[in-house]
């Protein structure tokens, strides 16, 4: 059951109808049962792993709280979650690599029993479990006496497969109080779903389907202009895919009176890398900042408070971005992507040392524009290593400067990047992702008609493509 499919919306509607007739405490049980039913439709094996992870983490949380300071149990908890994470991630990456190597040697073995599938959403709920254990250890939250609420925190179906990565500190209190769903929240939620469907079905799917398969295998067959156009299409496609997903699930969750965190804030308008990571996959960036960057950086600054110390400047961003790369995949490409992102942050920091600080928004417009071009170009360059294998990424970069023949790229690239930019510009200038709700009724009705027509027309192409981030 895909999040943008009619089945999912039908499922959510049935759950919602039952939800409104139940008292608050029973609503949580209903959401928990519904979340597991949803997960079982993907695979009963995923649901069993989630159940075991929930039990393990809940018991560990209780143990940490009981045996203050509970450091030993915190370390057991971190080790437990990281072991499960590494087992599935490494099996997901290394087993196919090993099997392909064996088959290249001419040996044929039965591979069915060796296939270990990465449970969808595992990377997301493991981070939520880790933050719960660490926050209980730091005495910022109680372990809680409601195992069902903790289970729902990990399993809540709108955010189960690809986030947003919520924190126990903010999510659990929402489960313990009466949820208010007023007309304002309903219209916000409905608008989020419509924007999400436009981003996913109309923009992202069209762009991603247009990208030629040959681009990943033989980038040298393409001209510089085509390479730039297709890789930009990939970035804009992935952005709209993930942003669309987040909008849809935030909208659905809003109907249950549970508001989920925002994950994107117009990252393609970032004027530097610090801004970029405050705007792209925000809930992951904030998790990494709070549980990786801050502890490392604070320990280093306590030892040596100098702002010019090279270790203070370089180590925290590089470790944090490498962790981000590994979280996405164990592949060398993603680790290279993480390392490059870390280096970009270090370079940015180093270049600004000793100069009076001017906020990006107060710089001259031309410098802001150049900042956006440089940031997005470098983000795309790093992204090439994530999208391609390393040899093909290097071939891509080489071809970028050698195949300079004048070949125009596919017009679909421009046709779909433009609406993405238009939606972003309107939201950015309005300083509100739901700025459309402030328009006069007639304009809103017109925009809704156009959006629904486009969603209907673009969804006629067959089975909807799964969301990219469900693969992580």
């Amino acid at each position: 059951m895909n999040v943008q499919s009619l089945e999912f919306f039908g499922f959510a509607a049935v759950v919602l109808a039952l939800y409104y007739v139940l008292p608050m405490k029973k609503q949580n049980y209903l959401l928990l049962i519904a979340s597991y039913v949803f997960y079982i439709t993907l695979s009963y094996y995923f649901a069993i792993i989630l159940l075991l992870m929930t039990l393990g983490n809940y018991l560990l949380g209780r143990k940490i709280e009981k045996e203050k300071p509970g450091r030993k149990w915190l370390l057991v908890g971190i080790g437990f979650n990281l072991m499960v994470f590494c087992f599935f991630k490494s099996a997901h990456f290394f087993v196919p690599e090993i099997l392909s190597f064996i088959s290249r040697l001419g040996l044929h073995i039965q591979t069915g029993s060796l296939k270990i599938i990465l449970p969808i959403g595992l990377s997301f709920y493991i981070l939520q479990a880790l933050s719960y254990l660490i926050d209980v250890y730091r005495e910022q939250i109680p372990a809680g006496n409601e195992p069902a609420n903790f289970a729902l925190y990990l399993a809540y179906f709108p955010k189960l497969t690809a986030g947003p990565i919520e924190r126990a500190q903010t999510f659990l209190p929402k489960l313990s109080k009466q949820r208010v769903v007023d007309n304002k929240l309903l219209s916000r939620s409905f608008t989020l779903i419509i924007i999400g469907l436009v981003r996913k079905i109309v923009i992202a799917d069209t762009l991603m389907q247009a990208v030629p398969a040959g681009l990943f295998k033989n980038p040298s067959d393409f001209s510089t202009m085509e390479l730039v156009a297709w890789v930009t299409a990939l970035l804009v496609g992935i952005y709209n895919d993930f942003c669309g997903y987040t909008n849809i699930v935030r909208g659905i969750s809003g109907f249950f009176g549970i508001e989920l965190s925002r994950n994107f804030n117009h990252p393609l308008f970032s004027r530097n890398f610090t801004e970029f990571w405050n705007r792209w996959h925000i809930t992951l960036s904030l998790w990494l900042r709070d549980y990786v960057y801050f502890p490392i950086s604070r320990a280093l600054v306590r030892r040596n408070p100098s702002r010019n110390n090279p270790v203070n400047i370089a180590l925290p961003p590089i470790v944090t971005m490498l962790a981000s790369g590994i979280w996405h995949s164990f592949s060398p490409g993603f680790i290279t992507w993480g390392a490059l992102m870390g280096l970009f942050l270090v370079a940015e920091r180093s270049l600004s040392l000793g100069r009076p600080l001017v906020p990006p928004g107060k710089k001259p417009p031309l410098r802001q524009f150049l900042g956006i071009i440089v940031t997005v170009s470098l983000a795309i360059t790093a992204g090439i290593f994530a999208f391609f294998t390393i040899p093909n990424a290097l071939q891509f970069l080489k071809s970028l400067f050698s195949n300079t023949a004048w070949v125009l790229p596919d017009s679909r690239v421009f046709l779909m990047i433009i609406p993405s930019l238009v939606v972003d510009i309107i939201q950015y200038r309005g300083k509100n992702e739901l700025v459309f709700l402030t328009y006069p009724l007639f304009i809103r009705a017109l925009l809704l008609t156009v959006a629904l027509t486009a969603i209907f027309l673009f969804s006629q192409g067959g089975i909807p493509a799964p969301f990219v981030y469900q693969g992580f």
């Binding site: 926050d135 730091r138 910022q140 924190r167 500190q169 610090t274 801004e275 904030l286 900042r289 709070d290 549980y291 960057y293 801050f294 502890p295 950086s297 604070r298 600054v301 306590r302 408070p305 702002r307 400047i313 925290p316 920091r349 000793g354 100069r355 009076p356 600080l357 906020p359 990006p360 928004g361 107060k362």
Partner: protein, 83 residues
């Protein structure tokens, strides 16, 4: 230490060490994180400064826009710990 003394200490440190402009007209309600003046790197330095000079440890998860965006918010968070 009074609330005003904390504000003055924070302003002086931020203007000299973070913004590198001692004449910067930093107001109590200027949004420093969302306005791009203070990033994660600078926030850690401010947190360690608060630890050393005021004797208050702000937890990592509270080093957020919601709790540290302005001088007023920073002071409010410090005062919570001092009470």
């Amino acid at each position: 230490m009074t609330e005003n003394e904390i504000k003055e200490k924070l302003k002086t440190y931020i203007c000299i060490e973070i913004i590198k402009n001692k004449d910067y007209p930093l107001t109590d309600d200027e949004t420093m994180m969302s306005g791009g003046l203070v990033d994660s790197f600078s926030l850690v330095h401010i947190a360690v400064f608060i630890e050393k000079e005021i004797g208050v440890k702000i937890p990592d998860t509270d080093l957020s826009v919601e709790k540290m965006d302005t001088i007023n918010l920073m002071t409010e968070r410090i005062m919570q710990e001092l009470k």
